[in-house]
Amino acid sequence: MTRIGLIRLLVVAALIGALELACRSGLIDHRVIIAPSQMASALWTLLASGALDADIARTLGMIGLVIALSIVLGFAAGIAIHALPRLRRALDPFFATYYAVPVFIFYPVLIAIFGLSVMPIVLIGVATAIVAMIIATLNGLDRVPRVLGKVARVHRLGRFATALQLQLPAAAPYLFTGIKLAVSYGFIAVIAAEFILSPAGLGRDIADAYADFNNRRMYALILFLLVVATLVNAILHGLDMRFAARRSGDRS
């Protein structure tokens, strides 16, 4: 594990080093890509100036809102749909194709309806992320072993206690998968919406910097978003590993 981790670190470092060298030596034109060290220093200056604070707050706040709405509403919808088998069977084809169609193409339509504001971004974000949570909730509830229902009755648990103490923990791994996907989709949809067309936000900043040929600013912003997204994914991955270690026993 540590050996492979070390090799991975070296591989990533070598790739970044090669890029640095190629940029510094002029092999790669600085109008195309700037050296990683320059990206980092540009980001540092930008963050220190405080000029980004408002956009960071706006974008991350929006992503947080989208993720929270998707998880809560998706979980509730999943429970409701699970309780209505006929509705669920009718909805199955929609769930099966939902992520195969480019739902994002609706973003301009939402702008046409709601105007260029926060609303279309939040809506397209939730539309992208919520279905993953619904599907994960349905999956989780499906896989609660039937015997747990009998155990609940032997222990004379009420409906609420059964849901909270047995069904929820039994479905938890699937719910967590849904949360992970909702986070990932929420992030991607909000940034993409901002980038394509929006009044403000980090995605918009990148597009503006690109249009202004301001490479230092553009690469600083790209680096910032990639670092934030990687960090969030790493945290979720770490949590996942923790749960998995308990449940699968592979790495006790």
Binding site: V147, R153, R156, A170, G249
Partner: protein, 281 residues
Amino acid sequence: MNAAPVPHEIHAQLSGVTRTYPTVPGAGAKMPVHALGPIDLDLLRGEFFAVVGPSGCGKSTFLEVLAGLQQPTAGAVTFEGKPVGGQVPEGIGVVFQEDASFPWLTVWDNVAFGLRRSGVAAPELRRRVEDAIAFVGLKDFARAYPSQLSGGMRQRVCIARTLVLQPRLILLDEPFGALDAQTRLLMGDEVLRLWRRTGATVLLITHALDEAAMLADRVGAMSARPGRFIEIIATGWPRGRDSTIVGEAAFGEITGRLWERLRGESLKALGHAAVPAMAAE
């Protein structure tokens, strides 16, 4: 050989119990299925009763009706003189065929699950949980999660989770069905130990004739569906028995007699027409 002291107090009683299901799920046919009964049975306080029968004969239905997990279509079930219906009465513990250990709780928390809800004081709770874990031999695994244990160990977690509540009637639904034959013999010894120590009435559902013959005071042979008792055999084993009795001549006789009664029923369950055993000539 000394017979076990025969208890006489009726602990649980089924009278005229039948169970029919409205339709077979998924089969399309709208015919009600007669799964069980009529059954009349008195379970005596402190006895070890085993039920054997071909697969699909309604053994598990029988157990669930007795436990109060299913309502009988007709007839009545009583436990300690009170009617059973709608819910599982206090004093009955059930160990299921499927692995019902909670994967999100440690062995310790699994065993403590029922006690926590009953409002037992902390020191008392700890003592009883540790006692139950030690009894099933999982002392070194108290902090482990079920996924880190073998199938047999997980089933022991479920036994401990039942045992810790001090049930007076323990129902075991093929708890060793998924284990290999040697492990099953050893688990049989553990169940005997459990039975002796708790003094509880034990009802064991099994498809293994040898298991029933070795463990029980009385063995009820159940017919193919609809399940009813075609014979109840008293084994006459001493209370202090263990798995070494499989070497005794009486064990072979009991097993042989059970098979004689059940052979035709098992063929029926396989879809054959009833074939009389050759010994019946």
